[in-house]
Every structure is written in C-alpha cells, then in structure tokens.
C-alpha cells in the first residue's frame, strides 16, 4: 500500500485547477505571510528561521538561520538576497516544479526572506535551460508588483525591494554559490576562494549576500505561517521540515514526493511510494542525494552512532530519509535526488556517465579538478570502450583522493565522491570488467560490450 505524501511546499501545486497566476495563489491564502512579515521586526523573523532549524535544500544542508546570522551587517554596504534556481545537480527536479506551478510561493518566500535580512535587492538566478520557467517568473513578478507585493514601499511598510531574474547560460558550476555570484556579475562562473570571499561578507559586488535554494526560501514562508518552533516539530530535531525527494532510475513510479524529514525510510520510498522496481529486478544501489552524493550498495550493512548517541544498524531499506541519517551512512541527502539502480546496471558504465558529466562541467580554474576529473573520465571511457585494465580501479580511486579537499570549490568533492564510493563498493566489478574484456579479446571477440552510453 502506498504511503500517503505529506505535502507542505507542494501542497497545492498538483491540485486540479491550481494555476500559477496570482489570483489563484491569493485564493489559496497566498501572500498572507508577507503581509504578516512586513509588520514584524526583521530580526524577529530571523529568530523564527533560526528556531525552525531549517537546513539548506540546495546541497550542503547548512542551517539557513545560522547563515543569515553570519551576514555582515556592520559594513554599511547593501545586502543582497539571491535565490539559487540553477537546479543542475543530476537527479534533481524539484525547484522547477515550484517555479512552473507555484511561482508566487517562491516570490512570497523570497520577499519574506528579503525583508528579514533587509535586502536592498533580490535576484533569482535561474538555470539557462529553464526558459519557460523564466517567463513564468517574469510574469509572476509583474503580477506581484502590480499588487505592491514587491517593488517600492511594499504594502505601505516603507520597505522596498525588487526581484531581478537572471538566466544562466547552461553550466552546472553556476549553481555553486560563488560561481553563481560571478556569473550574476557578468563574468565566467569561476567560483571564488573562501577565504576571503564568503558571500555573507563579500558576495555580490563585494557586498554581504545570502544565497539560498528555491525550496529553502519557500520554507521561510511556512516558518512565518506556523512559527519557527512549530515548523521544527515537522521531522526530527536537526532535520526539520519536509523534503522533496526526486526519485529517478529503475523504479515503477519515478517522480517527486514530499515527506517530513525521517518520516519514511529509503525502502518505503522505493517500494511503497514509487511502486518498487521493475518486475524481476533486484535493487543494486542507490545514490540518495544527487549525483555528487556517495552511492549506497543494496547489500551493505550500515552501523554506527548517530549524533544523538544512539547506535544504528541498518540495511539500505531501513535508512530514514533525512539529513543526519544519510550522513551517518556515509552519504548525504544533498539536493534530494534519489537515483535508484537495479541489478541490470553496469557500474562501470554508470560511473563513466557520471564522470562524463563532471569532466564536462568543471570550470577549469583549479588544477586538481581541471586535470583530475577529465582524467577520471578518460579512464572510465576507455574502460567501457574495451580497454579496461585491472589496475584502473585503484588508479581512479587515487586520482579522486588527489582531488577531494584540495580545490577552490566543492565541485572537487562532488566529482570525487562518486568515484571514491563506486570503487569502495563495486571495485570487484571494475576489476571484473578488465578480466572479461581480456577474455573476450583472447577469444577473438570485440572487447567492448554494446553500450547505450555517450
């Protein structure tokens, strides 16, 4: 029996008759929280967000209230709010739903947030390919402006702030917050070194800047609606609110599903919510938080201690879907992109696919990522083309070790973690690939199997 979703952010967006215009949004009680927000003291909203414990939905899971607290308010420079709508982590497709189907929720969340941090101007940095989304946002912003929900002297509060939508030009690295800021300034999206360029102090135009994910900013609206403490009751301590899991891969019903944190396990998500695997197939592996997160092997046992001190001993299906549990099993909830692989998956091909992506998307600024990631791609590409060597697995792992933790931005980790985890968990398949190919070559056959890959 399918477990019932408990939607918060996606509450209305798939309801029959729900449209993305402002009238529909207002009919559903929209902008009430903004009206309330502008009567509150900005620091009180910040306190509510802090109390809510809401963590960033863009990837790193950093508490939003804490991030806002780091904002350098003493510099006297204008403060900017940037909504990260670049959504390009493979396996992730939630922000687009919000933008397409409920853009006013995002705008309301943003205006509440902008007021809370007293931003002078707000931006939505939207992925270049989301052209339709861009048009929808532009229209929604116009609608909101007409109703004085943004722009000058919002709802007579004396607070003014506008939103500018900026389209990317199609690069994954534009989602990294400092790369995004460079891009917003009109430059190549080369991420900045931190220190010194922490956005909260030296962000957009060297001014204090908050960058938050689309979903995170929507959460702010609900935090105002129910109060931080009440919001914190959704989920578990340290894992508050709902998460939208974007399930793709070998399940019967791929799609997006919203649940309170820790309300379901990975097993329930795959089997009860997504209808299980294709007939006759067995679960082989899951990448739980977008392609950057470390892969989990279906027959692994995950043991250890949680942050709160309790011991755990889980199989893959027992893992609660929340920030801390996925971290505890050595991966992360990341952007919520759950990629399910059944036993038909060739792990070398899967990694070759991931490596292709990262090699293509490295900005090329820093040496380990620029040189190391394409090297890993060349190796996995060679492996699937029939020239695998037994030593390639160790070589791949060693290259990844030489990248992770030594780069300008977290892309270095994002590109290394898949390799490190694939080799850690499926090394046998990589070695076997080489042996198989050698055997076929010996038998006079073509070494490479047919592949559907790039």
């Amino acid at each position: 029996m399918a477990i019932q979703e408990q939607r918060l952010i996606f509450k209305h967006l798939d309801e029959p008759g729900y449209s993305n215009d402002i009238d529909c949004y207002l009919r559903h009680g929209g902008y009430e929280q903004l009206k309330q927000a502008v009567t509150m003291k900005p620091e009180d909203i910040c306190a509510e967000v802090m109390d809510s414990g809401v963590r960033g939905r863009g990837g790193a899971g950093f508490p939003a209230g804490m991030k806002w607290k780091f904002l350098d308010r003493k510099s006297g420079k204008p403060i900017y709010l940037v909504c990260n709508a670049d959504e390009s982590e493979p396996g992730t497709f939630k922000d687009r739903q919000i933008i397409h189907k409920d853009p006013h929720q995002l705008i309301e969340g943003m205006m509440c947030s902008a007021y809370a941090i007293q931003a002078k101007l707000a931006f939505i940095y939207i992925r270049g390919e989301f052209f339709q989304g861009y048009r929808i946002l532009e229209r929604a912003i116009e609608e909101a402006r007409e109703k004085n929900l943004l722009g000058e002297n919002i709802l007579g509060s004396g607070y003014s702030c506008d939103i500018i939508v900026h389209r990317g030009a199609g690069a994954y690295i534009c989602g990294e917050e400092t790369g995004l800021i460079e891009s917003l300034e009109g430059f190549r999206a080369n991420p900045r070194i931190k220190p010194p360029y922490f956005p909260a102090a030296l962000g957009l135009y060297q001014c204090p800047t908050i960058v938050n994910n689309v979903e995170t900013l929507c959460d702010v609206k609900h935090i105002i609606e129910m109060g931080g403490k009440e919001f914190a009751k959704i989920g578990t301590p340290g894992n508050s609110g709902t998460r939208i899991w974007c399930v793709s891969g070998h399940v019967q019903k791929p799609g997006y599903y919203e649940f309170p944190c820790a309300a379901i396990t990975l097993g329930q998500l795959i089997y009860d919510v997504c209808g299980g695997l294709k007939p006759g197939r067995k679960l082989k592996a899951v990448i739980p938080g977008g392609s950057s997160s470390k892969i989990l092997r279906a027959d692994e046992r995950f043991t250890g201690k949680l942050k709160n001190g309790t011991d755990f001993d889980w199989g893959i299906e027992d893992i609660p879907m929340d920030f801390d549990s996925l971290m505890a099993v050595g991966s992360m909830s990341g952007s919520g992109g759950v990629i399910v692989m059944d036993d038909s998956t060739d792990m070398v091909e899967a990694l070759a696919n991931i490596n292709y992506f990262y090699a293509h998307e490295s900005c090329g600024q820093c040496t380990p990522c620029r040189e190391g990631v394409p090297w890993m791609r060349k190796i996995t590409q060679r492996m699937i083309e029939g020239n695998a060597r037994e030593e390639d697995a160790d070589l791949l792992n060693s290259i990844a070790d030489q990248i992770a933790g030594r780069t300008i931005c977290a892309f270095g980790e994002a590109a290394s973690w898949p390799v490190q985890s694939f080799i850690a968990k499926f090394k046998d398949e990589f070695v076997e690939k080489a042996r198989e190919q050698a055997a076929r070559r010996k038998a006079g056959e073509l070494a490479a199997k047919e592949t559907t890959l790039i």
């Binding site: 690069a171 190549r188 820093c366 040496t367 040189e371 190391g372 090297w375 030489q402």
Partner: protein
C-alpha cells in the same frame, strides 16, 4: 595597521619554529621570511598581483589555537599548552594570512602528497617540450617536477591538443599546451597594465588562454607577461629560440628610458646582450618594466657607434686626443652642453671641468608623454644627478637658443657637447662651424660629424656607474658587456682632461677613487658613501630644496609629487 603606519607583528609557528611576521602576511611570504632557502612552491601567486588561488601548489596545513566554544577559554593539552585545532583539509598558503598563534606545516605528508598530486595533474596534459622550450632552465614547472614528480607517468590516455603558436601581439607568442592556466598574465593585464585583453575561453580542461577577438596584447608592458608566466607558454618574439638561459650571465642594471630608473637585469653571453628583464625593487618599479626599455640595448652594436678617439677625423691615441681637448678648453670662452644621460660620476667630472675653465653649462630637457606607470615625462635617467652634483642649478630648457646667441656674438669659441645633437636644438651647422667643437658620445650624429675632437663614450651596459632617479634614489649599474675595443670608461678619459686643467697629473683613477671625491665634495651625498656601498635596491638621498624644483613628472607607479607636497605641508603645519 597601527596609527603610525607601521604594521604590527604577530608570532606564528612554522614547522615547529616560532617566527615574527607582519600581521596579515600570507604564508608564502612568511615562509620566505624564515630564510634558509625555505619555500612554499607556487605558480599562480605573484606578490604584486591579486590572489587567484587556482594552482593549488601552495597547499599547506594550518591550525589555530583551540578555544572552548561556550566559554571562550583556551583548550589545553596534557602539558598545559594550548591545543592546536588543525583544519581537516590543507589550505592554500597564498590566501592564508598570518594571525596570532597560527600553526603551519609546510612539509607534512599531506602537504608533500598534495604537491605531488598537483604536479602530476599539471603534467598529464603538458607536452614534453622541455628540450625545445625556451623556458627550460627558468621554468617553475620543470623545477617543481624535479622535486615533486613521480619520474614516471600513470597517464596512458591521449593528451589534450591546443593551439601551439598563437600570436598574442607584436612581441608575445603563446603556446596554449604549455599554459597551466595560472591567470597571472590575465591579472597583470587587468590590474597593472590596465589593458584587459587576455582571458580564457572554453571550460574545464579545454580552457584556453586567448586575446579578445579583434584585440591584441600590444601595450608597452606586454613583455611582463612573459616574465611572470611560470612556464614556457608566453614567450618573447624577440628572445624566442635565441639562447638557452643557463648560458647567460645576469648583470644588475638600471633602465635609462626615463627618470623612473627601473631596476633591470641584463642577460648576456660573450659580450652580447640577449635580453633585458625587470629586477624587483618595491620603491621603484615593483617587478615590472616597459617593453620599450627592454629594447634599448639594440643600439649597442649599431653601425653608427663611435669607436675611435679622433682629432680632425683622424684616429689618435686617447692621451693625445685628451691633450688636444685640454688645449682647446684652456683657450677660454668655453661652453658646455652636458647630458642627463651621463652617469653621476661623469656629471661630477663635467662639473669639475666646467669649474676649471669657467664654463657656462647648458643641459637640454628631453620630455615626452608619461604613461602614469613606469615611463615618466622626463626621458633621461639622470637629471637629478646633474642637480645633485651641482653640474646645473636649474631645470633644463628645451633648446639651446641662449647658447646660440652666445656663439653668434662670439662670446663662445669652444664648445664641449655631451651626447646631444645640437644641430637639432637651435644651433645650425653654419653656426657650429664658428666654434671649436669637442664631442663626447656613444653614437655619431650631425654634431659629432662637425666635431674637431671626438671622444667615444660607453653605453650604460658597458660600464659601472650610477644614476639618481625621479625620487632622488641613487642607483648603481654594472657593466654587462665590454665596450668597443680600446674605449675607456668615460671617467678615465675625463680625468685625463680635468686634471691638466688644474695643472695636475692625471691619476689612474678607478670608480672607487672617483667616489671618494664625490663623497667629499657633493653636498647631498654622505662623506662615507662609496659606489660599492650603494645597495642593489639603491639609496634614497636627501636632496633638500632640490626636491622643490618644478619637475615635469606627474604621478606614476612610485612617484607622487602631490602626495609629497601634502606631507611636507602637514609636517610644516604640525611643527608650526
């Protein structure tokens, strides 16, 4: 910075040793200060450019003294010492600034392994060009590969292919395969040359350095990009493939292009100069110089060099020519056209000669447009020298019209000209024919052709000496190559003229002897000063009221007359 403008020192610990460094010093510089040849290897960091942090060669381990999060108290270890909280990942030294109590490890396993890794990464797509690469011998990649390379390659894939020979501008050629994308050249163009023409196109491993379409790297500082390129990606069209750098001798010199006096290095072999590069002096030129200044040596071997001492066009021994000059000068009614291209030592002699035959001294200004950076309006290297030595007392005029009148009236019968073509300065050849003419100079010109006596002089590359730059900084230069055969250093020839004028026997002078006299006689130079005692970074002089003369230079890299006037006014105000 504290109130009096000095930076406070902080104590940091580098590899177990406590060292004091100015607060905020980055770790690359801090480690350099420890001395003993200790270095944090790096590519993209350059002391005079912004921090890019992209090469990742300078990764080090960093820790700070631990404090309790709640109480703020120091966390102590078993021995009662404050515990060090080491960062979980290595950090880049170039973007890590010294803070009190900071701990640094520059040679731990993690650090060495990180450098080895970066080295391997830089080499996988790098062509094995060293045998045919101009940078070989001064290539950071080559050097660090020797320390951090594996000696074999784990890379069996195809290397990337990129453009090998791109003309970036008239003087710079780019080999993109050798480029390690450190962005030094890009930052230089933006931040120093103010000519933002370089950038990267394409992404990731295909990133390629290039010039903006329709533009070229043609500014007068373009060759600095070649200097700072840590590898052989940027090469000088002029120097490319001419000579292996390890064969070249390096001699410290001073650029004579303008009164800036950029510190330079002359690269020569067997009496031939191959290139000139800037030498760092933070008070003068930082690490830069103009392209035009680098080309000045090209006239060393030109056909119009003066190579013989002559009387009436006939080659004679130097003593005889000097004696003939003395005779002429003794005849009275002498005028002198001196030069701001002469060295301090030469100017000192000309001043002595002028005194001994009661000569009126003129000097001509050579002004051009300044570029606000390292090319000043005054296109002579040593006008301040002429003032300090007392050769002249006021700023020079642009021509010699007053001298022309004196020749015309017959008040001047003998003329000594140093390195100027007076025929272009208001003294027509017909007028020149009215006087006895002694010419001292490096190259021939219309004036030299008219001269009764010609004394060839050495170019700056061929002699030891000193200049005083726009900031009254006394700077010395050394001979890099020998002059034309048989030509003596100017001061030795001038001694042969000056001494007899005072009825003395010419002494076999050395530069040290000349300096003894300079130190004793020149007001603005300490009596104990020697030529050898002038440091490689020069010596600021205290020129008194000379500084208040209305010099033509306007603000440039290290020269700011207005700021100076303000500090003077402020000082006067606080005293008054």
């Amino acid at each position: 910075m504290s109130q009096n403008g000095t930076v406070e020192n902080v104590t940091i610990n580098i590899d177990g040793q406590d060292v004091d460094v100015p607060k905020g010093t980055n770790i690359i510089e801090a480690v350099k200060m420890v001395g003993k040849g200790k270095e944090v290897p790096h590519y993209c960091y350059h002391p005079k450019l912004s921090i890019a942090g992209n090469c990742r060669m300078c990764l080090i381990e960093m820790g700070m003294p631990m404090r309790d999060r709640e109480t703020g108290d120091a966390v102590l270890d078993d021995d009662g010492k404050q515990k060090i909280g080491w960062m979980p990942k290595p950090v880049i030294g170039c973007a890590t600034n010294a803070a009190p109590g900071m701990h640094i490890r520059t040679s731990s396993d993690v650090v060495v392994e990180s450098r080895n890794a970066v080295t391997e990464f830089l080499l996988i797509n790098h062509p094995l060009d060293c045998p045919i690469c101009d940078q070989a011998g001064e290539c950071r990649l080559q050097e660090f590969s020797a320390d951090h390379g594996r000696g074999f390659s784990r890379f069996i894939e195809d290397k990337n292919v990129k453009p090998k020979r791109t003309r970036l501008g008239p003087r710079v050629v780019l080999d993109d395969e050798r480029c390690i994308l450190c962005s030094r050249c890009v930052r230089f163009s933006q931040e120093i040359a103010d000519d933002d023409v370089l950038g990267f196109v394409d992404r990731g491993t295909y990133s390629t350095l290039t010039c903006y379409p329709g533009k070229e790297l043609a500014n007068n500082y373009s060759l600095n990009t070649v200097d700072i390129c840590p590898v052989g990606a940027l090469t000088s069209t002029d120097f490319r493939f001419k000579m292996r750098v390890w064969f070249l001798k390096r001699t410290h010199s001073i650029c004579t292009e303008s009164s800036v006096g950029a510190n330079t290095e002359i690269w020569s072999r067997e009496g031939k100069i191959y290139r000139i590069t800037p030498r760092r002096n933070d008070a003068v030129n930082d690490t830069w110089m103009t392209d035009s200044g680098r080309a000045l040596y090209k006239t060393v071997e030109s056909d119009d060099r003066l190579t013989q001492y002559t009387i009436g066009g006939v080659h004679q021994p130097v003593d005889q020519v000097a004696a003939a000059a003395v005779d002429l000068l003794r005849g009275g009614d002498v005028a002198m056209v001196a030069s701001a291209h002469s060295s301090v030592e030469e100017q000192f002699y000309y001043k002595t000669i002028a005194e001994r035959c009661a000569t009126k001294v003129s000097l001509v200004s050579h002004d051009g447009e300044g570029d606000g950076l390292l090319l000043s309006e005054d296109r002579t290297p040593n006008l301040r020298g002429a003032l300090v030595t007392g050769l002249i007392y006021q700023l020079p005029a642009a021509d010699l019209s007053s001298l022309a009148r004196d020749i015309h009236s017959g008040a001047v019968k003998t003329l000594l000209v140093v390195n100027e073509d007076v025929t272009t300065l208001g003294i027509a050849p017909e007028l020149l024919a009215k006087v006895k003419l002694i010419y001292v100079g490096t190259h021939t010109n219309e004036t030299a052709k008219e001269a009764d006596i010609v004394l060839p002089s050495l170019m700056v590359f061929e002699k030891d000496g000193s200049f005083i730059n726009q900031n009254f900084r006394l700077q010395k230069f050394k001979a890099a190559i020998p002059g034309p055969s048989g030509i003596l250093p100017d001061y030795q020839v001038l001694e042969k003229i000056a001494a007899p004028l005072a009825d003395e026997k010419p002494a076999p002078v050395t530069l040290d002897m000349v300096w003894e006299r300079i130190a004793n006689q020149v007001e603005h130079i300490e009596t104990t000063q020697t030529w050898r005692g002038i440091g490689e970074q020069g010596l600021p002089l205290e020129p008194g009221s000379l500084r208040e003369l209305p010099f033509v230079e306007t603000k440039n890299l290290k020269y700011d007359p207005d700021a100076w006037k303000e500090t003077q006014a402020a000082a006067a105000a606080s005293e008054g």
